[in-house]
């Protein structure tokens, strides 16, 4: 195996997570794999195969035991391989749990190669799906899921507003190439390419590391908003905004990227104002994200005449059916979401309701990425209320670490709309196929930041394997954060409606969508699902984390809540997480979010402003501490800035997607009330 230097450095950082067991030089040897299968024959064979790959194997024939093992030693495993059909617990449920609690990549495996089961793996956030009998070649490449996940996590954090597109673009091809674990030849060439890309990316990352981070605090953001309003949203150019703001140390680049995100956010807001359900809240509405099939996407699609009416009805019915159970918990979540997403209006619309409920429900499930720190009761509630989304975020792949963020590069609005408008799934599939590699974003993500043809890739990828019925479904983990979405591979919400989210692949969504629709519709759904905005993930994260909080306070459509709130929340969460846990690479923002959730409970009740300020304060302090506290975790270096950037990017993506769907106009004041 050719290991590029940079790749090694990437790997070594992850390997260092393994308590520096000195195996950095022989990565991926020593990769700690947990295999779960109730079939003793398979278990034995897998163990031997994995040992031959020089991995450290722990086998387990019961899902509960596996969970115990994982919980006892959070940092003890790098990847989990689990059978789908097990007597004591459904493999997808395990996937959910792992994604929520540990955020590890999870690979699903089964003798069942039927499309819907494989799809379920996708939507639940598994980072890969192996068909039995498993060949050793397939196992040799599983390390890629670990590296990819961590890389995405790291990249997410490292991304600042001024990340070059080039850097991002490197990701999609890389992911695309690596998605197929069945294709060894492909793997080798892809690997070489990845090595090269890694080099470049690492260099870029390093350089971005050295850039001073801009923390978009509440005050700063308010200054920014004031400047923008003063200039007029259409006339607001970074240079002038910068001048108006007159903040020392702030660069035009910082403002530019922030402006981009802000614009997306506004577009989304106004977009939601237009259509009842189709809101993509800044926070990456869980509602939107979670695929409410009924969600906006359906409406949009239906409106576009693409979605057969009956399918829409079916989907909506399905959504409704699903959501009704969750009303209790969903609502609070929805509320919470509203707070962040300014999507009060959603509640107005029936569909929106559905979506919200669904989203909430979905979010609930999506929260698998959330570390166990989360209130167990709430978590339990979430699980119960939500549909059984397989812990997508795992990243199962990724796996467990799964599913990583959904990145859907929003950079291709025109093509997107075309795709969306395609009335036959063929085109979509074609697009998807051309993409070549499924990109499933698990969790929010860093991966999302890439905008470029990834969207197509992602779509193609996700759909590609399915349509081909390949035995191995490769899920590229674009995000290390498995949480809420894909990685939920984690048990993410099924059927998250893409709605406008663009580019974020949510396995769960696809899954949900699949349930409700058939034929062409599913492809759209998948498409949509895949394109969940990153922000959605974030939103989910935050939402999930703070779901207890939301239940306390119903903050609706607080216009004044700038995106930075979310960012901060997420950030502080991550910060807190980092502080509180010696989490290894696997801990992305999601885990952070969990913690922040607790911390922020009290805050939410208060003014958002103070909340934000509070968080930002905390974040700042924590960041510092964090940085000093941890070693070898690249995540430590994540700046709030980066997180915010990431969130903004998601927003942007979402916004773009929205536009593609025909929403336009940003009206800050146009909040549905």
């Amino acid at each position: 195996m050719k290991l590029g230097g940079e790749q090694m450095s990437m790997a070594s950082s992850s390997v260092s997570l393994k308590s520096g067991d000195g195996l950095a030089d022989v990565f991926p040897a020593g990769l700690r794999v947990l295999v779960v299968d109730d079939d003793p024959t398979c278990l034995m064979i897998l163990e031997k195969m994995l040992r031959n790959c020089l991995y450290e194997v722990t086998k387990c024939n019961r899902a509960e035991v596996a969970l115990l093992l994982l919980r006892e030693n959070k940092n003890g495993f790098d990847i989990v391989i689990s059978d789908v059909h097990m007597p004591d617990m459904d493999g997808f449920k395990l996937l959910e749990h792992i994604g929520l609690e540990m955020d590890l990549p999870v690979i699903m495996m089964s003798a069942d190669d039927s499309k819907n089961v494989v799809m379920k793996g996708v939507t639940h956030g598994a980072c890969d799906y192996l068909i039995k009998p498993v060949r050793i070649e397939a196992l040799r490449n599983i390390w890629q899921h670990v590296v990819r996940k961590r890389k995405h996590e790291w990249k997410d954090f490292e991304q600042s507003g001024s990340v070059e597109d080039g850097e991002r673009q490197q990701k999609p091809p890389e992911d695309a190439d690596y998605s197929s674990s069945a294709n060894e030849g492909n793997w080798r060439s892809a690997k070489r390419r990845k090595d090269e890309e890694d080099e470049v990316e690492d260099r870029d990352d390093t350089s971005s590391l050295k850039k001073p981070r801009v923390v978009w605090s509440v005050e700063l953001h308010q200054q920014f908003v004031a400047a923008v309003n003063q200039l007029g949203i259409d006339k607001a150019v970074p240079k002038k905004i910068l001048e108006l703001m007159n903040v020392p140390g702030l660069t035009r680049e910082n403002v530019a990227s922030h402006l981009q995100k802000y614009r997306l956010y506004l577009r989304r807001l106004s977009g939601s104002g237009h259509q009842g359900g189709l809101n993509n809240s800044f926070m990456g509405n869980p509602e939107a994200a979670f695929g409410s099939l009924n969600g906006l996407d359906l409406q949009a699609l239906a409106a576009a005449g693409q979605l057969p009416a009956h399918s829409l009805a079916t989907l909506q019915a399905a959504t409704l059916g699903r959501s009704t159970n969750k009303s209790a918990i969903s609502m609070p979540l929805a509320d919470q979401r509203n707070v962040f997403s300014f999507e009060t209006p959603k509640l107005r619309f029936g569909d929106g309701q559905q979506q919200q409920l669904n989203n909430s429900a979905k979010q609930v499930n999506l929260l698998h990425g959330i570390p166990t720190n989360m209130d167990s009761k709430q978590l339990a509630n979430l699980h119960q209320s939500g549909q059984p989304f397989a812990g997508m975020n795992m990243q199962v792949n990724s796996h467990g670490g799964q599913s990583s963020s959904i990145l859907m590069p929003m950079g291709q609005p025109p093509s997107r709309s075309q795709i969306v408008n395609e009335s036959n799934g063929n085109q979509v599939s074609r697009l998807l196929s051309s993409a070549g590699q499924p990109m499933l974003s698990n969790g929010i993500g860093g991966g999302i930041l890439t905008r470029s043809g990834v969207v197509d890739n992602v779509r193609g990828a996700a759909y590609h394997p399915v349509s081909q019925g390949s035995s191995m479904v490769d899920f590229s983990l674009s995000h290390s954060a498995d949480l809420p979405y894909n990685s939920f591979p984690l048990g993410n919400n099924s059927g998250m409606s893409i709605l406008t989210s663009k580019g974020v692949l949510h396995q769960e969504e696809a899954n949900m969508e699949m349930k409700g629709s058939r034929g062409l519709v599913p492809s759209y759904d998948i498409f949509n699902e895949l394109h969940q905005p990153k922000s959605q993930d974030w939103g989910l994260q935050n939402v999930g984390l703070t779901f207890d909080i939301s239940q306390q306070a119903n903050i609706h459509g607080t216009l004044d809540v700038p995106q930075s709130v979310l960012v901060q929340q997420g950030y502080s969460s991550s910060q807190k997480t980092m502080l509180n846990r010696n989490s290894s690479i696997g801990k992305t923002m999601f885990s952070a979010g969990e913690e922040s959730g607790h911390l922020n409970t009290s805050n939410i009740g208060q003014q958002l402003h103070s909340f934000m300020a509070d968080n930002s304060q905390r974040v700042k302090t924590e960041t510092h501490t964090d940085a000093t506290g941890q070693n070898g975790l690249y995540s430590e270096q994540f700046g709030q800035d980066d997180i915010i950037s990431a969130l903004f990017k998601q927003q942007e993506d979402i916004r773009q997607a929205e536009n593609e769907f025909g929403f336009d106009g940003y009206h800050l004041d146009n909040l549905p009330a």
């Binding site: 109730d38 079939d39 003793p40 024959t41 398979c42 034995m44 064979i45 031997k48 195969m49 031959n52 059978d83 059909h85 007597p87 089964s110 003798a111 069942d112 039995k132 009998p133 498993v134 060949r135 050793i136």
Partner: protein
């Protein structure tokens, strides 16, 4: 029989098993996994398979004997058998399982019983074949020879 003869016999026999579809490529994978650190790997895995399968077959017999057959349970068992048989390369057993599962879906008790019979037959066939193969291996080793790798 001297070593050379035994080895030839072994090679021919193995080849025939593949030809006749009793074993498939996955079995070769198992053989390739065997090494000095696990010299009896194949025998161990296959023994495990036998044990597990016999249990499964018993469960299946009992399940189909019920007044009201729980097809989900039956299907689960068959699915497991399908997985394990495919993992060791017992191709014919696996194929019989596939057919079996289809009838489970249809909830056709009679057809399922027939399938079960079929599966049992294939299982005992492949068990005999593998036992013979292992015996041959043993003889070769006892005669001081090395077991040839049949790819």
């Amino acid at each position: 029989m001297e070593v050379g003869q035994l080895q030839r016999k072994f090679v021919d026999y193995t080849a025939s098993l593949f030809c006749e579809g009793f074993l498939d490529e996955q079995f070769t994978q198992l053989q390739q996994l065997q090494d000095e650190s696990n010299p009896d790997f194949v025998v161990e895995v296959v023994s495990l398979f036998f044990e597990d399968t016999e249990k499964l077959l018993n469960d299946l017999t009992r399940a189909l004997d019920q007044q009201s057959v729980d097809f989900k349970k039956v299907d689960a068992h068959v699915h497991q058998l399908k997985g394990s048989s495919s993992s060791i390369g017992a191709q014919r057993v696996r194929n019989a399982c596939i057919a079996f599962r289809n009838f489970c879906e249809e909830q056709n008790t009679d057809a399922c019983s027939k399938c079960l019979l079929q599966v049992k037959q294939e299982y005992s066939l492949v068990k005999n074949k593998l036992d013979t193969l292992f015996r041959l291996e043993q003889q070769i080793v006892e005669a001081g020879g090395a077991v040839p790798m049949v790819g």
